[in-house]
Symmetry: C2
Subunit: 140 residues, 2 copies
Amino acid sequence: MSTRERSQMATSLRVACMRISRRVRFESGDDLAPHQFSVLLRIEDGAQTPRELAEIERVSAPSMTRTVAALVDRDLVLRAEDPNDGRSVLLSLSREGVEMLKAIRRRREAWMLDRIKHLGDDELDTLRRATQILERVAAE
Amino acid sequence: MSTRERSQMATSLRVACMRISRRVRFESGDDLAPHQFSVLLRIEDGAQTPRELAEIERVSAPSMTRTVAALVDRDLVLRAEDPNDGRSVLLSLSREGVEMLKAIRRRREAWMLDRIKHLGDDELDTLRRATQILERVAAE
DNA sequence: TATTGTTATACTCTATAACTATA
DNA sequence: TATAGTTATAGAGTATAACAATA
């Protein structure tokens, strides 16, 4: 494949990914703001303290204090004192938080499934192989 | 392909697209906020009035007033009175606005090209065909 | 002293309500 | 009256600076 073709492909692929991503977000009817969803995912993924979350999400400590407070207010996240360090708080998902993540994922999956359900096996196979490549590319 | 497989594919593909999209935005070093970039694209695409832009972007009229004002302040967008309707203003991209869009696209393309440059022809071909499918899917 | 987290304050983007000017 | 756009004001999100409590 020529350099010119690669370049065009890079743009088309990028634009297609961004369109899909945008529509998933807009049309799945999430009832959680993007930054809140993201923090919930981080906690699910093992992050425990506001400090950690602020670093991962690259926001300031006071911003994370607010975001976490909002999630605790909505009973999606639990706060506990750290028995080993009186300065720290330990965060975890509540049952409601786990359910919220499940519900959002369910809606997003449904949206995407609806888009690909009428494709033929050939096209699905192409998408499957492309997905594996994209996963590698995005992880680098 | 079974329903179960399709469902898993839908999720993997969605997540891969969102990751790519997120990294493109974060790592291309845009010097324009996302909502400003989006409005610039809409004007390039033919939108002329704040009213139109507010509807397309689904924000309130006052919000669009501010966004447009910021773009005009930065000399990226030109305002003109509508000769046929004294209430309206007509917006267009300035030369700087056109350049800004070009620069952002150039950086985003470079980022994506950098990710796919080491792939083999087989993989690139898979991505090319997947891109065509995704474009159709995203357009529906 | 260094670190964790919060409070104080300010700036930006969002919204709704009220206003001006024009159709 | 209805429409295009702005201004006024308030509610979230962001930030930095200053503070408390603990290590």
